[in-house]
């Protein structure tokens, strides 16, 4: 029977679409706010009502990457003419770029923090997903004494709110010298993500029929070879989905990064808000930092979106 759409159903559909659009806009509004502020001149950043139409400029990004100081006097026309185009943007904002004695531009703390974030998030994701995959494979394929208890124990490490262990962790890290080091944060984030990774990967591993490996074993391969040649390619979807979740957790983590690091290994999340109060608060620079900080997760998630969508339902449904 052909579906008959009545006029009430049609108007209800339209209403639903409008509803979805409104919800989407509510969710996208903060992202738009940050993205637009990142391209605004400073004087338009905090206007009431907010400025929606403006001439976008990249001065916030120049300021974000350089060390600056307030200008006491306006630059001379010669100084202004001699400056490269990006330095003029800083002059226009009433500031100047700090240079070393040899005239080299001094970088702000942001690029380093951003790099630290990448190093810590990528390494801890690789470790958590790697170890999680092996552990999940073991639990999925072999009879292990007390398997359920062990799995519950692994899960139980997530039951404690992480922040309650912050002080003991800080003291322990100080003793072993892991404070303010990349490895300190990497170990911490790997430990956070591992239980999640094991559980998620176990679901995926259980879905991969045992016969695939058995066929490979009979075909003349060792179990290790069968794992790498057969199981890993089959688990790609699960690995991608798990990696996205682990990466997001490590990338966004704030509390431990704030407590455990201060300079050398500090990641972007505790750095960005610390800039609010340094000198005068230039919201455009903070927005620029936040905007750049959003990009890696957005790109990573976008690249793996197909796996991610499949990954959400895969493992959840018994075939």
């Amino acid at each position: 029977m052909a579906a008959v759409t009545t006029s009430t159903e049609r108007s209800l559909n339209k209403l639903a679409i409008v509803g979805v659009l409104i919800v989407t806009m509510i969710f996208l509004a903060p992202i738009y706010w940050i993205a637009s502020t990142a391209f605004k001149p400073r004087n338009l950043a905090t206007t009431i009502p907010p400025t929606v139409l403006f001439q976008p400029e990249i001065s916030p990004f120049v300021k974000l990457f350089t060390k600056r100081s307030q200008l006491r006097t306006a630059p001379t026309p010669e100084q202004y003419a001699a400056a490269p185009w990006w330095e003029r943007l800083v002059f226009d904002g009433g500031e100047k770029v700090v240079r070393s004695g040899r005239g080299e531009v001094q970088w702000s703390g942001y690029p380093n923090r951003f790099m630290n974030s990448l190093i810590v998030a990528i390494t801890s994701t690789v470790l958590a997903v790697g170890m999680g995959t092996f552990t999940a494979y073991g639990f999925s394929r072999f009879k292990i004494k007390g398997e359920q208890d062990l799995l519950f124990f692994i899960l139980s490490t997530r039951m404690l709110p992480p922040v309650v262990v912050a002080i003991p962790m800080f003291l322990m890290y100080r003793v072993v010298g892991l404070n303010d080091t990349h490895w300190g944060l990497i170990i911490l984030y790997t430990a956070f993500n591992l239980s999640f990774s094991v559980w998620l990967m176990k679901g995926f591993m259980d879905e991969i029929p045992k016969e695939y490996e058995e066929a490979a074993l009979v075909d003349g391969y060792t179990r290790m070879e069968a794992f790498f040649k057969i199981v890993l390619p089959e688990a790609a979807t699960g690995i991608a989905a798990t990696a996205v979740f682990c990466f997001i957790t490590a990338w966004n983590e704030y509390a431990f990064a704030l407590i455990m690091t201060n300079r050398r290994a500090q990641t972007a999340p505790p750095f960005i808000p610390s800039q609010v109060g340094s000198g005068l608060s230039d919201w455009t620079v903070i927005a620029a930092g936040t905007f750049l900080f959003l990009l890696p997760v957005a790109i990573f998630t976008f690249l793996l979106r197909n796996h991610l969508l499949r990954g959400m339902s895969f493992g959840a449904i018994r075939k």
């Binding site: 029929p209 695939y212 058995e214 066929a215 074993l217 009979v218 075909d219 003349g220 057969i230 089959e234």
Partner: protein, 369 residues
């Protein structure tokens, strides 16, 4: 030349013994079918030979050498799984080449062997495809190709066509037989389908609850079942089994089925053979296949009057349930031979095809008339 031998093989899953003291010798080039209900231990036996399952006692010998401590990879045996188990991320070509890569063969050698196997199985045009794009029959051909390509010592097949539909199963059965005749490798085939077993096997091995029941050629197993289990498992429709009493009556013996007023006429030697078997009357069961129950529409010498109950028309023949005493005997007749349920017809049993069993042990008494 590959011989496989199982000597006193034992296997436990926890407290449950799934293989009980299994002894079996398989000759070179032989096609052996392990037949039994699900859970009878046939697949476990196959997996134990393949090296996918450890055994708790006994020996598995390939060409006289114990292999139970060897890994699956080192036994040089190929296996075809019920689920086909083609690697989904590899093309058909890669799937077939996969075992050769484990042998570290050169690219040219691999290519030659993959193509020659594909030719034999008529799947050359599928080589570039992914398994997900294949039909069930083609998947199974590829799975068989992957097993054959290495020229293994033996082929193990675990219900390889169980997942296919009836028509395709028949086709693949013929193809497997053709391949075995052509390639001639020692093959062990597991199935629960007795028709598959009968049509493929050189010898059938029937298992029940982990215990080997009978080993023999399809006709041996069919005509001389070793016990009640084999008698009722092999053959379709199922053999009639009824408690019976044997009495001497003049020149012949009479076999009276439980609750019947009159007995069927049998040759007098029956009594002597039963006496030799030394089984009490209360432990005696008669087994007779539907085709050995002869039906007549008119009264005739040696025929007893019986009432026809249900008639199942199966096209080329009918199965008619005849009420004999308290029992139903199923008879196979020409189609349309018995007009309608409820009519009286006359029945006789073929003594040459009758079996007698000890109901306590279930064993055949070996009566041959």
């Amino acid at each position: 030349m590959t011989q496989i031998e199982l000597r006193g093989v034992q296997k436990y899953f926890g407290a449950v013994q799934v293989i009980k003291d299994l002894n079996l010798k398989i000759d070179d080039n032989e096609f052996i079918v392990l037949l039994g209900q699900s859970g009878c231990g046939k697949t476990t036996t196959l997996r134990a030979i393949a090296g996918l399952e450890t055994i708790d006692g006994g020996d598995v010998l390939i060409d006289g050498k114990p292999v139970q401590h060897l890994k699956a990879a080192d036994r040089d045996i190929a296996m075809v799984f019920q689920s086909f188990s083609l690697y989904p991320h590899m093309s058909v070509y890669e799937n077939i080449a996969f075992p050769l890569r484990a042998m570290r063969k050169s690219k040219a050698e691999i290519d030659g062997e993959v193509r020659s196997v594909a030719k034999v199985l008529q799947i050359t045009e599928l080589l570039g495809k992914k398994p997900s794009a294949l039909s069930g029959g083609d998947m199974q051909r590829v799975a068989i190709g992957r097993a054959l390509v290495r020229r293994p010592k033996a082929m193990l097949m675990d219900e390889p066509i169980g997942a296919l539909d009836a028509k395709l199963r028949e086709e693949m059965r013929a193809e497997i037989k053709r391949l075995h005749i052509k390639q001639g490798s020692t093959t062990i085939y597991v199935t629960h389908d007795q028709i598959e077993a009968m049509s493929l096997a050189d010898r059938i091995v029937i298992m029940h609850e982990g215990v080997l029941q009978q080993v023999g050629s399809p006709s041996e197993v069919y005509t001389h079942p070793a016990n009640l289990f084999v008698a009722q498992f092999v053959g379709s429709p199922v053999m009639n089994v009824a408690n019976a009493a044997v009495t001497m009556n003049g020149s012949g013996a009479r076999v009276t089925v439980d609750g019947a007023a009159e007995g069927f006429l049998f040759p007098a030697e029956l009594v002597g053979q039963l006496d030799a078997a030394n089984v009490g009357q209360d432990r005696l069961a008669l087994g007779i296949r539907p085709e050995a129950v002869m039906v007549s529409r008119e009264a005739a010498d040696g025929y007893l009057p019986v009432e026809a109950h249900i008639i199942e028309p199966l096209g080329s023949y009918d199965i008619v349930d005849l009420k004999v005493g308290a029992q139903m005997l199923r008879a196979r007749t020409r189609s349309g031979f018995v007009g309608k349920p409820g009519v009286q017809v006359f029945a006789k049993l073929d003594p040459a095809q009758a079996h007698f069993f000890d109901t306590t042990s279930g064993n055949s008494l070996g009566v041959r008339l």
